[in-house]
């Protein structure tokens, strides 16, 4: 029997409230399937299964708030026989439920299978149904305040625990922007790339040579990540910030990254992300874009060990072959965790990003 635990939802989220089950006892689940939707301070998160199996029992009810790591369901491993000793799966048919409660559940779309009853012999009452419906549909009490608290906790922990060092380099982007302009001019509007995609790809590729920038500091030691899952800092319109992962950035073509980035931003702003996106960024990138400041020195999101910041892309006076020219450029910064890397290697990492951005057609 596999205990399916509520997975990590990122360093600043230590609990979640069950909004909806996507599985029922008897269902077959594959790795990556969505098993539940859980509300956190920052978003409603689609919880993905990390195993294959068959659902034996659901252990928590809609509306329950549980800490990360709590067993929320029991699954049978593939090939494992149904355990007759285990408590029987809940079934709406076999449970006591008042006719009024059943009717109301139908009206409100409440799933009786995942409901526990408070009436005699566990019977589901009208109140149970209405309480669950309210728990499912009620918005987070004050998402803004909760998000502020979550950010405060993670950033305070970062500044308490992580000895940050900071580096910056202004990188010329003439070649990259000219390449982008030519490419975008040939394509329909729906396939245009943003400069951000080139920057993300360059960062991910640079981590291959400087693995100590990409990973996590856990239990007093650095653990390099096998791939670059870049946490993309996305500001939310109502205020606040979220940095879900864009997966395997180094391995993907720019057009794919652009589609995935657009989808990630759209879902982050709609408040619908996947648990893997919340849990596994290996290096955060913050990009202030066209309207932002010239440079940014970020606070590392623990347990990550670095953050790369891009300021606004702008023309700057630039000396080239003894002449002063106007050069489109971006100030790139690295906030590094001094426990995991040193400034010298950090500087080489930034130089690698610079180098990669001079050959955009190779990205």
């Amino acid at each position: 029997m596999i205990e399916f635990k509520l997975p990590s939802l990122g360093a600043d989220m230590d609990e979640g409230k069950l909004l909806e089950w996507k599985i029922h006892p008897g269902d077959t689940v594959k790795r990556g399937d969505i098993v539940a939707i859980v509300d956190t301070a920052k978003a409603a998160v689609d919880v993905e299964s990390w195993v294959d199996g068959t659902v034996q029992q659901l252990l928590i009810d809609i509306g329950d708030k549980v800490p990360v790591g709590t067993p929320i369901a029991l699954l049978r491993a593939p090939g494992e026989a149904a355990d007759s000793a285990a408590p029987p799966a809940k079934s709406a048919e076999r449970r006591r439920i008042s006719p009024a409660a059943r009717k109301r559940a139908g009206e409100l779309g409440v799933d009786l299978v995942s409901l526990s009853g408070s009436g005699p012999e566990g019977a589901i009452t009208l109140q149970d149904v209405e309480a669950k419906a309210a728990a499912t549909t009620a918005p987070a009490a004050d998402r803004g305040a909760e998000m502020r608290r979550a950010i405060a906790a993670a950033m305070s922990r970062s500044k308490r625990e992580i000895p940050h060092y900071y580096l910056a380099d202004t990188i010329p982007l003439r070649a990259a922007l000219a390449w982008l302009e030519r490419r975008n001019a040939e394509l329909p509007v729906t396939e245009r790339l943003l400069p951000a995609v080139l920057l993300l790809k360059a960062v991910a590729l640079a981590t291959r040579r400087y693995p100590e920038i990409n990973g996590h500091w856990l239990d007093g030691t650095f653990r390099a990540a096998p791939a670059a899952h870049l946490g993309v800092a996305i500001s939310l319109r109502q205020g606040g910030l979220i940095a879900p992962a864009l997966h395997n950035v180094a391995a993907k073509p720019l057009a794919v990254l652009m589609r995935e980035l657009a989808d990630l931003v759209q879902r982050a702003r709609a408040g619908s992300l996947r648990s893997s996106e919340m849990a596994d960024p290996t290096l955060t990138v913050t990009n202030l874009g066209e309207q932002g400041s010239e440079s940014v020195f970020g606070v590392i999101y623990p347990p990550q060990v670095a953050l790369v910041g891009f300021g606004k892309v702008m023309e700057r006076p630039w000396v080239e072959q003894g002449q002063c020219v106007a050069m489109p450029s971006v100030t790139t910064s690295l906030s590094g965790d001094h426990r995991a890397s040193d400034g010298h290697r950090g500087a080489l990492f930034l130089a690698e990003i610079r180098q990669l951005l001079q050959q955009p057609d190779a990205l």
């Binding site: 509007v189 951000a196 309207q291």
Partner: protein, 94 residues
């Protein structure tokens, strides 16, 4: 399409990206990206939205013309009337 309908359509496209936009609070002659907090992804989605609704493909090189809501309306009206700036209008152009 008259200008008022076009304005409504443009504001509707903006609101898909920035739901907080209030039509009455928007000043048509001010820099649009100061009036509404639009990052580069928002802007691209706005351009894609206009493309889907009006079948007008706005080249990147023309973004700099689209400084205010008035400028966007002028640009769209001209493009819908004349077709693409540097290409012959398609046969189906009204």
């Amino acid at each position: 399409m008259d200008r008022a309908s076009l304005r409504t359509l443009v504001i509707d496209s903006l609101r898909k990206i920035a739901p907080e936009v209030e039509e009455s609070a928007l000043r048509d002659d001010r820099p649009l990206r100061d009036e509404i907090d639009l990052d580069s992804m928002d802007w691209l989605n706005f351009i894609i939205g206009l493309h889907e609704r009006l079948q007008v493909d706005i080249p990147e090189a023309d973004y700099r013309q689209l400084v205010s809501l008035n400028a966007v309306l002028d640009y769209l009206a001209a493009r819908m009337h004349d077709g693409p700036p540097s290409a012959p209008p398609p046969d189906s152009e009204p």
